[in-house]
Amino acid sequence: MALALVCAATLYPVLWVVKLALSPSESLSLSANPFPQEVTFRHFAAVLGASDSAGRWLFGRNLLASLTVSAATTIIGLALAVTAAYALSRFRFPGREAGLQTLLISQMFPATLMLIPIYAILQRLHLLNSLGGLALVYSTTSLPFCVWMLKGYFDTIPRDLEEAAVMDGAAPWQAFVLIVLPLAKPALAVTALFSFMTAWNEFILAATLLNDASLFTLPVALQRLVGEYRVEWGKFAAGAILVSVPVMGLFFALQKHLVGGLTAGGVKG
């Protein structure tokens, strides 16, 4: 019963957005009924079909920008996080504790606080208004979470396994690549998903750092639909749904890796 209530509470706003996207009118109707009276795909067609003044396909460019940034963020972030987390999990070195704590503390500040320093740094690096710069910023901001997440998981993988691999003739890096990484798949999937979603959904940094409409990521492009004088709610809702679809797809694709228990049976309990 409680579950049904929670489901209803979470689904209600979603249904509302769906209704908005499918209803022919552009205005916000304030009726409590979350189901559309009339169904049209006009808004979807409008969002998907829009072109800029030079006649380029806008949605396609925005989608490409979002995908590029998100994929780059995931790859850069994961590569850095995996190696850092492994070192933090397996080796004792001066500054280890301090490093872990700094990562944690950095999570306590809202990202907007970093906006100005980040802007200044990117300006120096001539990376303003570039997707590469944005990906770099995203990967660094999602790094602390990823490192903690992966370190926590590496800690649960028995060291015996790597030692057995070393006795079997593996170099330390081979023990890492051939034994630890495959076992860490669930954590890698979660971390990848997290990085991807952070980048995919982020708005403020993207809106600040990008000013070329052809480079806009989807959330920024979406926000531009909310015009200065007239808000095109129908298009906005349709766009929002289109933006969430890839993330949902990714989630389902990774779902089977998200289940834990891969290490079961390796060592006696």
Partner: protein, 356 residues
């Protein structure tokens, strides 16, 4: 096949000395079993031989080569971990082949070796399973198989049978013995199980507190323990030790006196410890010592009575048909020439002469 030689090994963890100067030679093809109380450094010593830890002092040699600075993978040593440490994401076949693939053996050779080992350990049916679908005994055999396929110079085993039930343990013990005879490799084996130590070992090494107490053939250690620690550690129930004073051939303690046939070496002070294996003491109608029965263990054919005597606690055997009741006072007789004598600080002075 290679010999392992440890010279003056010391190892300290975070300021705690764990191995305090160990000298030990393991001959070619020998089956050396290391025993000792928990925390005495057995696992650490294995890891030092394996190269998973570095010695602070001393030298480790394998096959005449000093390997202090040699990586584990270049020592040609295989280790069977106490936890088995099977790779969970690989099938049994892949587990067995892992080390050989890393060493870039030809694929045909790998297949042949895996097949051989699987047949030897009766794993052939299980080759395509993952470790989590195996029973404890099967995992244990896979762990062993992973070592065997490599055909290393030296095998290291860390309590490999400790998690198995009794029946499986007896079976695996037999298989290990067979394996040793077949491969003829040098093996170093850690266990808490006395029976494993006595039955598998060509030589037993007893450790306490990071110090080697004595090493030798199992019966040698049992019959001629070098000190009080070895005497009480090996054998079950433990050897009885009673304080006494010596006077020539006579040893007298509170409420008892025994005489030894052959003389005692001179030198040490008059205070000694007299030792008897419980198996050499018998509850009887008359004897050299009396005590009140505190507990009785009946094992079927015979049993052990635990007594409180004037000189201290004593454990003695009783045979079939003898009735022993708790609270009763009984006499205990010793077999002929059963007396071990130790100095007050525990060094052996004498052992019974008529031992096999």
């Amino acid at each position: 096949m290679a010999e392992v030689s440890l010279k003056g090994i010391r190892k300290t963890f975070e300021g705690n000395p764990v191995i305090k100067g160990v000298d030990l030679e393991v001959g070619k093809g020998e089956f050396l079993v290391m025993v000792g109380p928990s925390g005495c450094g057995k696992t650490t010593l294995l890891r030092l031989i394996a190269g998973l830890e570095r010695v602070d002092e001393g030298t480790v040699s394998i096959g005449g080569r000093v390997v202090n600075d040699v990586q584990p993978r270049d020592r040609d040593v295989a280790m069977v971990f106490q936890s088995y440490a099977l790779y969970p994401h690989m099938t049994v076949r892949e587990n067995l082949a892992f080390g050989l693939r890393l060493r870039k053996l030809p694929e045909a050779e790998i297949e042949a070796r895996v097949k051989d080992a699987a047949a030897l350990l009766e794993l052939t049916q299980l080759l395509d399973r993952r470790p989590k679908a195996l029973s404890g005994g099967q995992r244990q055999r896979v762990a062993m198989g992973r070592a065997i396929v490599r055909r290393p110079q030296v095998f290291l085993f860390d309590e490999p049978l400790s998690n198995l039930d009794t029946a499986l343990r007896v079976q695996m013990r037999g298989e290990l013995s067979r394996l040793h005879r077949r491969l003829g490799s040098t093996m170093v084996y850690v266990t808490h199980d006395q029976v494993e130590a006595m039955t598998l070992a060509t030589r037993v090494a007893v450790f306490n507190g990071g110090v080697l107490q004595q090493a030798g053939p199992p019966l040698e250690l049992y019959h001629r323990p070098a000190n009080r620690f070895v005497a009480t550690f090996l054998g079950s129930p433990a050897m009885n030790l009673l304080p006494a004073r010596r006077d020539g051939k006579k040893l007298a303690g509170k409420g008892f006196a025994v005489e030894v046939a052959s003389g005692l070496p001179g030198g040490a002070g008059p205070d000694v410890l007299v030792g008897f294996r419980p198996q050499e003491l018998e509850v009887a109608s008359s004897g050299f010592i009396k005590g009140e029965v505190e507990a009785v263990e009946r094992l079927g054919f015979d049993g052990y009575a635990f007594l409180e005597t004037e000189a201290g606690k004593l454990c003695a055997r009783f045979g079939k048909g003898v009735e022993v009741a708790v609270g009763e006072t009984v006499s205990v007789e010793a077999a002929r020439d059963a007396v071990h004598v130790f100095t007050a600080d525990g060094t052996a002075l004498r052992h019974p002469a008529n031992l096999g």
